[in-house]
């Protein structure tokens, strides 16, 4: 079956995120009220052919651990598109 798997990679708490800070400053200078913080990450969409959705999520998890995220500075979450449940978590 074809599965669309979403991977979101975010900087770990405690890791300097100057992009997030710059984007936050941009929102402030737009006059937008109420935004307290911005952290900037990346969203990957993987189209995976696998026997089951669970197998596809496993493949996406391996891809995330090996390449899509750098575990020294990033965490990741993996979920099948349009699903409520998050299948695998990095250390948020």
């Amino acid at each position: 079956m074809h599965c669309a798997i979403d991977v979101v990679v975010m900087p770990k708490a405690g890791v300097n995120d100057p992009e997030g800070t710059a984007i936050f400053n941009g929102l402030v200078s737009l006059g937008l009220q109420g935004v307290e913080q911005v952290r900037a990450g990346r969203h990957f969409q993987l189209m995976i052919e696998a026997e089951t959705e669970t197998a596809a999520i496993e493949i996406a998890t391996v891809a995330s651990s090996l390449l899509l995220a750098n575990p020294v500075i990033e965490t990741f979450t993996v979920r099948a598109e349009n699903r409520d449940t998050v299948a695998v978590l990095g250390d948020l």
Partner: protein, 234 residues
């Protein structure tokens, strides 16, 4: 049979020919360009991973270069104690490959910095720095947008106590100062080695400072060491 220094090159590397020229012409040792698709480094006595933008810095700097056949060979070469020098993008690739701990983050000020800086030599027990003196100051150029060295607290403590911090950003007189850190690197770290000391990664470019014609030759003080490492003359 290959010999001398292997300068590896990836799609997007642009410091490869700087390294070749500096080593061959200014230092005077045998060098060869080794393509990223080459899966072995038999016969070479040292490896240089040059600066540039391998794979366009896509995903993360050095993230994709890590999986090339040549980096597989570099890992084996390093595990046998072979000397490996990663310059700028080369340093980034070494951290992605986990031959060195930590990571290089986007510069704190979000600006690409192209400038001359000073680094202080912090240890001389590594084969790479055994010709230098602790406290020596080298004036070297940098050119990077993602050079802020980062590691978690425990790793930083291990690096400091283990003598793995080799270069630290400093003022021209060697003293420390926040203003001398060009990118927000933790503890002003500009270069580190692995535990064994044979793998050195640094953000500044010694190969761009081997000839006074380009503004300085302090880089030669580091690269000259390859003379002693290599058995085969130019």
């Amino acid at each position: 049979m290959p010999s001398g220094v292997a300068v590896v090159t990836f799609p997007g590397s642009n410091g490869d020919h700087d390294a070749l020229h500096a080593l061959a012409s200014d230092i005077g040792i045998r060098v060869a360009l080794v393509d990223y698709r080459c899966g072995e480094l038999d016969g070479y006595e040292a490896v240089v991973i040059p600066g540039g933008f391998s794979y366009g810095d896509y995903l993360r700097c050095g993230a994709i270069a890590r999986f090339t056949p040549v980096m597989n060979a570099v890992q084996q070469f390093a595990s046998r104690g072979g000397p490996v020098l990663g310059i700028c993008n080369g340093f980034q690739i070494l951290t992605e490959t986990k031959l060195l701990p930590g990571a290089l983050l986007r510069n704190q000020a979000l600006q690409f910095v192209c400038d001359w800086i000073h680094v202080r030599v912090e240890q001389t027990t590594s084969p790479w720095t055994s010709d230098l003196l602790k406290g020596d100051v080298l004036r070297l150029p940098i050119a990077h947008g993602d050079g802020a060295y980062f590691a978690d607290k425990q790793t930083i403590e291990e690096l400091e106590h283990g003598g793995q911090v080799v270069f630290r950003y400093c003022k021209s007189d060697g003293s420390a100062g926040a203003s001398s850190n060009p990118n927000g690197a933790v503890s002003d770290i500009a270069g580190i080695t692995n535990k064994a000391g044979n793998v050195l990664g640094m953000m500044p470019h010694p190969e761009r400072a081997t000839d006074l014609l380009t503004g300085g030759n302090d880089g030669a003080r580091l690269l000259n060491h390859l003379f002693h490492l290599l058995q085969v003359p130019a």
